[in-house]
């Protein structure tokens, strides 16, 4: 009985939520997971540049950090809009 009431209440509360809000929430979750990938890239670039000395090492490190920062930027933007 109690469970049914909670279910109905939840349903009612979700009824007022725009479907675009749900899409937005999924996008934020997706981007947070993507941020983990961006962090792995930063870490991996460190290992790669240690393995071989190359001309592009500096640019590659910069790109990896820029990619991570851009990911964080898009998450913030998505939360704000």
């Amino acid at each position: 009985m109690n469970n049914e009431l909670i279910g109905v209440q939840l349903l009612k509360s979700f009824m007022g939520v725009s479907p675009w809000m749900v899409v937005k929430a999924f996008m934020i979750v997706g981007l947070i997971l993507y941020m983990v990938f961006a962090l792995v890239i930063v870490k991996q670039v460190g290992i790669m540049t240690e393995s071989v000395e190359a001309d592009a090492n500096g640019v590659v490190k910069l790109l990896a950090w820029a990619h991570l920062l851009m990911t964080i930027g898009v998450i913030v933007l998505l939360i704000l809009i």
């Binding site: 993507y34 071989v52 190359a54 001309d55 851009m70 898009v74």
Partner: protein, 240 residues
């Protein structure tokens, strides 16, 4: 030079001693090599081998074929010098480059067709940014795997550094005096046209083969490996 490129074991410069070399008639042909330091001797051998194979210090195929790159790599020994640094031929990247270009133009195409007409503008904008970010991540990861998966030939050994994916790295070493005859394989229109192919070097160890896949000028690579191996063999016979 960054510390990380220095070998932890071996490779220490020989301590200076005050030994006096007695002039011996039989040692006359080796007098030049006896006077040279190991690094100088290595350079001398490399120059000799490159001259024999018709090569010189150069960089070709967008950095996929570099002769005498003067770059260091992980666990390199002090008296070791890189002769060749190889990557897969740049043409092998065409597949992911095309995919990335398609990914880049896809949002524009969908916008023109009106497929996302009912999506709120700000959400569509954020979605587009997210898509471009994923495209950048995809292209960057592919580039990293290509750029840092290298096959290095030094005057002492061969080093194969493979990044299978972002979390998996394989580094294989083989001494040049422990290798069997290297082989090459070139087949197909694209490979013949752009002059790239696979180089396989089997070592004396069981089931151990080093592979340089889709590298430019495989014939020259095999030639250089053979010549260097031969030089090492000669040195060993001379007891150097």
């Amino acid at each position: 030079m960054p510390e990380v490129y220095k070998s932890s074991g071996g490779g220490q410069p020989a301590p200076k001693t005050n030994q006096v070399q007695e002039p011996v008639a039989e040692q006359a042909p080796q007098a030049q090599s006896a006077e040279m330091t190991p690094a100088q001797e290595a350079r001398h051998i490399i120059d000799d081998v490159l001259r024999k194979t018709g090569e010189h210090k150069r960089q070709a195929m967008a950095g996929a074929y570099i002769v005498k790159p003067e770059k260091r790599f992980v666990n390199e020994q002090e008296d070791e010098e890189v002769v060749l640094l190889l990557r897969a031929h740049p043409i092998t990247n065409i597949k992911w480059i095309m995919t990335a270009v398609l990914m880049l133009i896809l949002p524009g195409v969908l916008e023109v067709t009106g497929a996302f007409a009912m999506v709120p503008g700000n959400l569509f904008f954020a979605g587009k940014l997210m898509w471009y970010l994923v495209t950048l991540g995809f292209a960057f990861e592919k580039f990293l795997n290509w750029y840092y998966s290298v096959f290095i030939i030094t005057n002492e050994r061969m080093v194969d550094i493979d990044f299978v994916n972002l979390l998996y790295r394989v580094v294989s070493y083989a001494n040049l005096n422990h290798i069997e005859e290297p082989t090459m394989a070139v087949g197909g229109i694209l490979r013949s046209m752009f002059r790239y192919g696979d180089v396989h070097v089997s070592t004396a160890a069981e089931k151990s083969t080093l592979e340089a896949l889709a590298v430019p000028y495989p014939d020259k690579v095999v030639n250089i490996i053979s010549q260097l191996s031969e030089e090492l063999e000669k040195r060993r016979e001379r007891g150097e």
